[in-house]
C-alpha cells in the first residue's frame, strides 16, 4: 500500500513544502535575551523538575532565607537604635542646668528614683505636678495620684510574681496603670512613675528637678574613633560569614544539578548556556529565599518583643529595615546567587553524557589567593598609629581591608586543604575513606567550613582588639572591697543616726561606717578653693585617716592627701571658713566656722572608696550646729555576700528612709557603657551567626550523605561496620575543620595585630580568646557532626539498595 500526503486545504500541492529554518540561519538573539531565556529555563527547571528539583530549590531557599533574615535584622539595627534613642530623648527630664525654674501652673517636680533589682536596672521617677498644665511623660495617660504608680508591663508582671517580692517592698505604691510603648526604650524595660506630694527642689542637687516639658534636644557627644572602628568591624566580621553562608546555600544540591545539566548538554546546549541555566536554578532558589527571608524576618520581628539578649530588647515596630539597605539586600542576594553559580561552574566541565570522568581537579593556584589578604593588609597598614592622636579612620579603607583579609580565608582555605590532604595517606579504613574523599573533592569540604573559618578569624581579631583597648575603657576603681561593699548616700533631711541604725539592723549587714561630708571655703561667695570636711566618731574617722589619738570634740587636719593642694594653705588654727558658700547662680547659706586653735594633725589613708581624704576631720561635738546642718551624710556598709539578696535588702531599707536615697555597690572596675554595649553586640551577633553557620553546615552535611546513600548501602551490604563509616564522616569533617581553624587563627592574629597597630595599642596575643574562639568553632562542627549521625545511621541500612 502506498501512502500519499493529505491534500492541502488550499488546493493541490503546487509548491515545495516549507522547510523549517535551521537555528543557525536565524538572527542571533541579543545578549540580554539569551541571558533571560537561559535564566528563565533554569528557573523553570527549579520548579518543574519534580520532587528532586523542589527539594533542591527549597534547600537553597531556606539557606538563603536564613541569611536574608539576618541581613534584614542588620539593616533594621540603625532604625532600632535610632527609635530607642528617640524615645529615650523624648522622656529626658534632667536638665543639668543647675538653675531652679520658678514654680508655675505648667511645671512638674521630677524625682530621680532609679534603682537596681538583683542585676536589673529599674528606671523610677517620682512625679509631683504643680499646676494643671504640668507636662505628662510620654506613654503616660494621666499623672498617678500620690501613693499610686504607673508601671511598664514587664515591671507589672515582675511585681505580681514571687520573684518580685523584695522589689514590691521597695515600691509601696498601688499600680494604677501601665506605661505605653512610646514611653519605654524597650519592651523588657523595668520602669515606673509614682505620684508624690512631698518633694521639694534643693538648689545644686539633681535628684529633684522642676521642668515644664519632657525631652532633650541636646546632641549626643561624638563617638570615640576607636569605638567607631570597633562598631564598623563588628558589622563587617558578623556580616561576612552571612555572605559566605548565602554563597554556600545557593550551591546546595550542586552535584545532583550537574547531572541534570549534563542531560541538557546532550540535547545541544553549549557550556555557557548550561552554566546560565544553572544560574537560573540558583536564582529561583535565591528569589524564593528572599521571600522566605522576609517571612522569617516578620516572624523574628514579632518574637523580638519577647526576647531579651544581654539586657537588650526591642519592640517589633523598632525593627524596621532601612529602605535603602533592604533594597540592597533584595538586589544583591539574587545577583550574588547568579554570580556565585557562574563562578563555581567555571571549572566544571559538564559533558553530554554526564559527569562521566571525575578526574583529579587541576591544582589550585596560590598567587591570587595570597594576593587578597596581602591587599587587605596593604589597605589597613597606612592607618597605623592613627588611634594615638584620636584621628578618624577612613571607613572604606577599614571595611575594604578587613573584607579582603577575611575573604582571603575563603580563598586560601581550598588551597590549604588540597595542599595538605594530597600528602596524606595510609591509616585505618575510615581514615583512608575520608582522606581519599577529601583528595577527590577538597573544594566541597573547604566550602563547608568557609563560614566558620571567616567567623572565627574575625572574632579572634576583634577579641584581640577588645583586649588591647579595654584598658582605655575600663577604670580600676580602687574600691577597697574588704572594708566596704556598698554605700548609702542619704537625703539632706534624713537623720544619720536613724539611718545608721536602720542599716545596721538590716539582714546581711555586718558593719556600718556613718560619715557626714561637706566642703568649706575661705570666702562667702565664689570661692576659688575648697577643702573637704568629714565628720564622724573617732572609730569611723580612723577609717578615713591615720589619727594619733582621738577623743570626742577633737578636730584634725590632714594635709598630705594626694591631689589635695589647698588644705595646707587654707586650714590654719583660728581661721574662719564658710560652709555652703554662694556661687554665681546658686545662693548658699554661707555659714561661718572659726576653726579651733587646737587643730590636731592626722595623716592620710585611703577611705573605703580608695580615695585619700584630705581637709578637716571632725568629731560631731566639735562642730557648730549650723555647720552640721549642711552635711551630706553617707553610710559605708560591709555586708555578708552569702546572705540572700543582701544588696536588695539594703536598697529596701534605704528606700524606707527616703525613696530618693542613693545606694551604690562598689566594684573593682568600671567599664565604659558604650564599650560594654559594643562587646555585648558582638556576642549577640556572633551567637546568631554561629547558629546560622551551624545550620548551613548541617544542611550541607546531610546533602552530601544523601548523595552517597546508595554507596553507603553498598558498603554496608558487604559488611562495613557502621563505626567505620561514622568515623570516616568524622575524619572527613575534622581534617578540613582543623586546617580551617588553623588558617583562621593565623589570619585572625594578623588582622588583630594590624588593628592594634592602627589604634596604637601594644600588640599582645590574647591566647585565651584564640583558644575560646577556635574552640567554639570546633564545638559547632562537632555538634553538627553529632546531629548528622542519626540520619547517617539511617542511610547505612542495606535496604537502601532497593531500587524498585
Amino acid at each position: 500500500m502506498s501512502t500519499s500526503p493529505p491534500p492541502s486545504p488550499a488546493g493541490p500541492v503546487s509548491a515545495r513544502p516549507q522547510v523549517p529554518q535551521r537555528p543557525g540561519a536565524q538572527a542571533r538573539p541579543g545578549l540580554v535575551r539569551v541571558w533571560a531565556r537561559d535564566l528563565a529555563m533554569g528557573v523553570r527547571f527549579a520548579v518543574t523538575g519534580g520532587r528532586e528539583s523542589w527539594a533542591r530549590t527549597w534547600l537553597t531557599a531556606v539557606g538563603v532565607g536564613l541569611g536574608v533574615a539576618l541581613l534584614l535584622v542588620t539593616a533594621a539595627v540603625p532604625s532600632a537604635l535610632g527609635n530607642r534613642h528617640d524615645r529615650g530623648a523624648a522622656r529626658a527630664d534632667i536638665t543639668y542646668s543647675g538653675k531652679v525654674r520658678p514654680k508655675g501652673d505648667d511645671t512638674l517636680l521630677v524625682g530621680v528614683n532609679d534603682t537596681t533589682y538583683r542585676s536589673e536596672n529599674v528606671r523610677g521617677r517620682l512625679l509631683q505636678p504643680e499646676g494643671p498644665k504640668a507636662p505628662l511623660p510620654p506613654g503616660v495617660a494621666a499623672f498617678p495620684r500620690p501613693g499610686d504608680m504607673v508601671v511598664s508591663p514587664v515591671l507589672k508582671k515582675l511585681l505580681a510574681s514571687d520573684d518580685g517580692a523584695l522589689l514590691r517592698e521597695r515600691l509601696p505604691y498601688r499600680i494604677a496603670g501601665t506605661i505605653a510603648d512610646r514611653g519605654l526604650i524597650g519592651p523588657s524595660e523595668l520602669a515606673y512613675y509614682a505620684g508624690t506630694r512631698t518633694m521639694h527642689v534643693i538648689a545644686g542637687q539633681n535628684r529633684v528637678e522642676r521642668i515644664d516639658s519632657f525631652g532633650s534636644t541636646a546632641s549626643d557627644d561624638e563617638w570615640d574613633p576607636v569605638l567607631l572602628l570597633l562598631v564598623l568591624l563588628v558589622f563587617v566580621v558578623l556580616l561576612m560569614p552571612v555572605g559566605v553562608f548565602i554563597a554556600t546555600a545557593v550551591r546546595f544540591g550542586g552535584e545532583r544539578r550537574d547531572r541534570r545539566l549534563a542531560a541538557l548538554r546532550l540535547v545541544g546546549a553549549d557550556g555557557r548556556m548550561t552554566r546560565r541555566t544553572a544560574a537560573g536554578e540558583a536564582l529561583a532558589g535565591a528569589a524564593l529565599g528572599l521571600v522566605l527571608g522576609a517571612v522569617f524576618f516578620a516572624v523574628l520581628r514579632q518574637l523580638a518583643g519577647r526576647i531579651t539578649i544581654f539586657d537588650m530588647s526591642v519592640f517589633p515596630f523598632d525593627l524596621d529595615p532601612t529602605p535603602a539597605l533592604a533594597l540592597l539586600v533584595a538586589c544583591a542576594v539574587p545577583a550574588s546567587a547568579v554570580a556565585v553559580t557562574l563562578f563555581a561552574l567555571r571549572s566544571v566541565v559538564i559533558e553530554p553524557l554526564g559527569v562521566v570522568r571525575t578526574t583529579r581537579p587541576t591544582r589550585r593556584r596560590l598567587w591570587w589567593r595570597l594576593l587578597l589578604p596581602l591587599c587587605g593588609v596593604a589597605l589597613l597598614y597606612p592607618m597605623t598609629g592613627q588611634g594615638n592622636d584620636n584621628g578618624r579612620f577612613n571607613e572604606w579603607m577599614v571595611i575594604g581591608g578587613t573584607v579582603l583579609l577575611l575573604i582571603g580565608v575563603t580563598a586560601l582555605l581550598p588551597w590549604a586543604v588540597e595542599a595538605v590532604v594530597v600528602r596524606m595517606g595510609g591509616g585505618t579504613v575510615s581514615w583512608q575513606l575520608a582522606v581519599r574523599r577529601l583528595q577527590l573533592s577538597s573544594g566541597t569540604a573547604a566550602r563547608m567550613i568557609n563560614g566558620i573559618a571567616v567567623a572565627v578569624a574575625g572574632a579572634i581579631a576583634l577579641q584581640m582588639l577588645f583586649s588591647g583597648v579595654q584598658g582605655d575603657y575600663t577604670r580600676q576603681t580602687k574600691n577597697d572591697l574588704d572594708r566596704a561593699q556598698m554605700t548609702v548616700n542619704l537625703q539632706q533631711d534624713t537623720s544619720l543616726a536613724a539611718a545608721d541604725h536602720a542599716l545596721r539592723t538590716t539582714g546581711g549587714v555586718r558593719h556600718t561606717t556613718p560619715i557626714g561630708n561637706a566642703t568649706l571655703a575661705p570666702d562667702r561667695r565664689n570661692p576659688e578653693a575648697e577643702v573637704s570636711l568629714s565628720v564622724g566618731s573617732c572609730a569611723d574617722l580612723r577609717k578615713l585617716a591615720h589619727l594619733p589619738s582621738c577623743h570626742e570634740g577633737d578636730v584634725f587636719v590632714v594635709s598630705d592627701a594626694a591631689y589635695d593642694t589647698h588644705t595646707r594653705h587654707l586650714v590654719k588654727p583660728g581661721r574662719t571658713l564658710y560652709a555652703d558658700p554662694s556661687y554665681e547662680n546658686l545662693k548658699g547659706r554661707e555659714i561661718p566656722w572659726r576653726l579651733p586653735m587646737d587643730l590636731r594633725q592626722g595623716s592620710s589613708r585611703e577611705d573605703p572608696t580608695g580615695v585619700e581624704r584630705g581637709g578637716i576631720l571632725a568629731t560631731p561635738s566639735a562642730l557648730p550646729r549650723e555647720v552640721a546642718s549642711t552635711l551630706s551624710n553617707q553610710v559605708f556598709l560591709r555586708v555578708d555576700p552569702s546572705y540572700p539578696d543582701v544588696r536588695d535588702e539594703v536598697r529596701n531599707t534605704a528606700a524606707k528612709l527616703d525613696p530618693l536615697t542613693d545606694v551604690f555597690v562598689f566594684a573593682a572596675s568600671e567599664q565604659s557603657t558604650r564599650f560594654s554595649s559594643i562587646r555585648t553586640g558582638l556576642f549577640v551577633g556572633a551567637t546568631c551567626v554561629l547558629l546560622l553557620i551551624g545550620a548551613s553546615l548541617l544542611v550541607s552535611q546531610l546533602e552530601q550523605l544523601r548523595e552517597r546513600r546508595k554507596l553507603l548501602s553498598v558498603l554496608v551490604a558487604f559488611g562495613t561496620r557502621r563505626r567505620t563509616l561514622s568515623l570516616s564522616v568524622l575524619w572527613q569533617t575534622a581534617v578540613p575543620v582543623a586546617l580551617g581553624l588553623l588558617l583562621a587563627a593565623v589570619v585572625g592574629l594578623t588582622l588583630g595585630t594590624v588593628l592594634l597597630k592602627m589604634v596604637d595599642a601594644s600588640v599582645s596575643v590574647d591566647w585565651a580568646a584564640v583558644g575560646s574562639m577556635t574552640g567554639i568553632g570546633a564545638a559547632v562542627v562537632l555538634a553538627v557532626t553529632l546531629l548528622s549521625m542519626p540520619p547517617l545511621l539511617r542511610m547505612m541500612r542495606p535496604d537502601g539498595l532497593r531500587t524498585e
Binding site: T359, Q432, L433, L440, L715, A717, F718, R721, R802
Partner: protein, 229 residues
C-alpha cells in the same frame, strides 16, 4: 519445611512486602556449594528482593533462610554484617565502587575491613585484579576506567575475601554484550575455581546461560526451571 539435602544456602516460604506491594510471596530457593544459580524474572518480579533476603541485607517478613546450618533471620545485625564480610561477596549492576578510592584500594577494601594489613590486602587484591585482567587500572579511580573494567574490578572485590557465596545483581546490566560476556566468563570461572556458589540475578537469557540452574521469580513466587539444552 523442605530444605534440600546438602544445600549451602536455602530459603523457604519467604514473604516480604513494601507497603501494599508484595515483593516476595512464598518464594523458595536453594543453592549448593560451588553451584551457579541464575534467578530470572521480569522487572519488578522480586528477584533483587530475594537476593537481598538471601544475603541478609533485608529481613523477610516471614519465612526461613538457612545458611550452612544457621538460621539467618535469627541473627542480629552485627552477626549478619560479619557474615557478609567473611562468607559473602557482592557484585551490583553499576559496580558501586567507592569513587574516591583507587581500583586497587577498592578491591582491597573488604580485606581491610576484616582486619588485614594494608600491604597484604593490596597484594592479594592485585592478584585478583590480574586474574580478572584489570591490573593495569590498579592506580586509577573508578571514574577513570571504562564500565567493563569497573565491573571486573567489582568482581575482583567480591571474590577477594574468598567468599562461599557470591551474590551478583544484574552484573552485566550496564555493559555491552561483548563486555558482558567477558565479565560473566571471568566471574563464573573465578567463582568456580574458588569453590564459591553464585546467586546470579538477571533478566537476560544469555547471562543466565552461564549458570548451572535457573530459578524464575514472578509475582513474588519462585519456580525451579528445567534447563533445556
Amino acid at each position: 519445611m523442605s530444605i534440600p539435602e546438602g544445600s549451602l544456602l536455602a530459603a523457604h516460604d519467604l514473604h516480604k512486602a513494601y507497603g501494599p506491594t508484595n515483593a516476595l510471596d512464598g518464594a523458595a530457593f536453594s543453592i549448593h556449594p560451588g553451584e551457579v544459580v541464575a534467578v530470572m524474572g521480569p522487572s519488578g518480579s522480586g528477584k533483587s528482593t530475594l537476593l537481598h533476603c538471601l544475603a541478609g541485607i533485608v529481613t523477610p517478613d516471614s519465612g526461613t533462610i538457612m545458611y550452612n546450618g544457621h538460621e539467618l533471620s535469627a541473627m542480629n545485625d552485627a552477626d549478619r554484617s560479619a557474615l557478609r564480610r567473611t562468607d559473602f561477596g557482592f557484585v551490583f549492576q553499576f559496580g558501586q565502587l567507592v569513587p574516591e578510592l583507587s581500583c586497587l584500594e577498592n578491591v582491597a577494601l573488604p580485606l581491610r575491613l576484616n582486619g588485614t594489613g594494608r600491604k597484604q590486602a593490596e597484594s592479594t587484591a592485585l592478584t585478583w585484579m590480574q586474574r580478572l585482567e584489570v591490573e593495569n587500572v590498579a592506580k586509577q579511580r573508578p571514574g577513570e576506567v571504562s564500565g567493563g573494567q569497573g565491573q571486573r574490578v567489582a568482581v575482583a572485590r567480591s571474590l577477594v575475601t574468598g567468599p562461599r557465596v557470591l551474590f551478583a545483581d544484574e552484573p552485566t546490566g550496564a555493559l555491552d554484550s561483548l563486555n558482558g560476556e567477558r565479565v560473566m566468563e571471568l566471574l563464573t570461572d573465578a567463582a568456580r575455581s574458588a569453590g564459591a556458589a553464585v546467586v546470579l540475578v538477571t533478566h537476560e537469557a544469555r547471562v543466565a546461560a552461564y549458570s548451572d540452574r535457573e530459578v524464575v521469580v514472578r509475582d513474588g513466587k519462585s519456580r525451579d526451571m528445567e534447563r533445556v539444552v
